[in-house]
Amino acid sequence: MPYTTALRCKECSRESELLPVNVCDFCFGPLEVQYDYDAIARVMSRESIKNGPPSMWRYAELLPADPENRVDINAGLTPLIKADRLGKALGLNELYLKNDCVNPTYSFKDRVVSVAATAARDFGFDTLACASTGNLAGSVAAHAARAGIRCYVFIPADLELGKVVGAAIYGPTLVAVNGSYDDVNRLCSEIADRYGWAFVNINVRPYYSEGSKTLGYEAAEQLGWRAPDHAIVPAASGSMFTKIWKGLNELHDIGIISKPNTKMHIAQAEGSSPIVSAYDAGIKDIRPVRPDTVAKSLAIGNPADGYYALKVIEDSEGTGHAVNDEEIVDSMKLLAQTEGIFAETAGGVTIGVLRKLAAKGLIGKDEVTVAYITGNGLKTQEAVQDVAQTVNINASLRDFEDAIKAEDA
């Protein structure tokens, strides 16, 4: 890790050694990786990035893990698509979609897990673990398979097994835990403390979370080395939201782009929106909630980075909005039917909030806007099953022609 210097507590600012720990020993605040940006600025340039690998690892100097040791299933450098049809529907001329549905395990989690798995290898761990109900499980199991190390995935016992087939296929040990969501949460935290494993979003979290910065770097590179005017980002813990902002600012700090004036807009589902609720109330203290939403991948009631996400909204002069289940599903359909992208429910949250921002006139029609689509719709098909309507005919040409005449009428 040549460019990392320390872990720093986001609360008390104490610095500590780069170890697999996620909270400050002193005040139990969250830790964040620090870098030597002067040294990075000397070696990193638009040219060096362009000549790097066609994956998120082209920004290796700004990641807290050894690229020579990387666990890489080719995450990142996903398409940034100019969304003309969706833009026209919303009255936006410069709308772009960052399509992270097409990562190797079909969600943005591959970015964070690639860094976490590499850091785990750097630290000499022989087991990768996580607690998940979907996307994270699949990504952790795939990276563990690629690295050839053991993998434990903890799931609530009442989770339908179909939800974790996308992880089970890679051969992890699946541990189904009896008890409430809170019980599973607490148990995993205790296991992470007790066992010498790399729990990607617990003891390795300071490294893991840095992977999301690449969503900011890539958008800037793909826009021709500039930050967007607006970014719309779905949020569960709020980590990705804060890291995209951090990524854009880092590119500025090392002299690669001009100072970002991006308004950061956070998107949550109404049934799990503690960050947006705090934003609406004008407070910085998050009130934990019990999630109840169709957007399962965003169902975090007690978000680790909620406070910091609110700070980013404030610093960037952004906003926060929530959408209900009906708006989420409707927005998934709109995205698919205008741009050919089948996003999971979290994508419906992003597009639902984008629609609100456009309708309220909070985005100028020629302002460059990036909406982040972070997971694939094949994972949450149950949310939109009603679209599967057929035109039923007998196997005769006449029947077919009658039917399409009726359809066209």
């Binding site: 139990f28 949460n185 935290s189 813990s237 934990p288 978000p303 680790a304």
Partner: protein, 80 residues
């Protein structure tokens, strides 16, 4: 012996109750507060509980039964 780092969230009607004091009296637990905040309608405390694992579990169950929300310090760790 176990050491558990937790965050207690108190609704406003519980803020004036000496719950952490009671926790140390009623159970064989050492409580060590690291950070806290009290607002108009809610308060939270980040602390470490140290004791036998069974006692930690019993203590957390008791606190929960009093209406306090107990979370791991890093927030929710089950991700989608």
């Amino acid at each position: 012996m176990a050491k558990v780092r937790v965050r207690f969230t108190f609704a406003s009607e519980l803020i004036q109750e000496p719950i952490i004091w009671s926790l140390g009296r009623e159970f064989e637990l050492v409580t060590n507060i690291r950070r806290a905040n009290v607002e108009e309608d809610q308060g939270w405390v980040v602390l470490e509980l140290e004791g036998a694992q069974d006692e930690v579990d019993r203590g957390i169950s008791w606190v929960t039964s009093k209406g306090v929300r107990v979370d791991p310090v890093p927030g929710d760790v089950i991700e989608g």
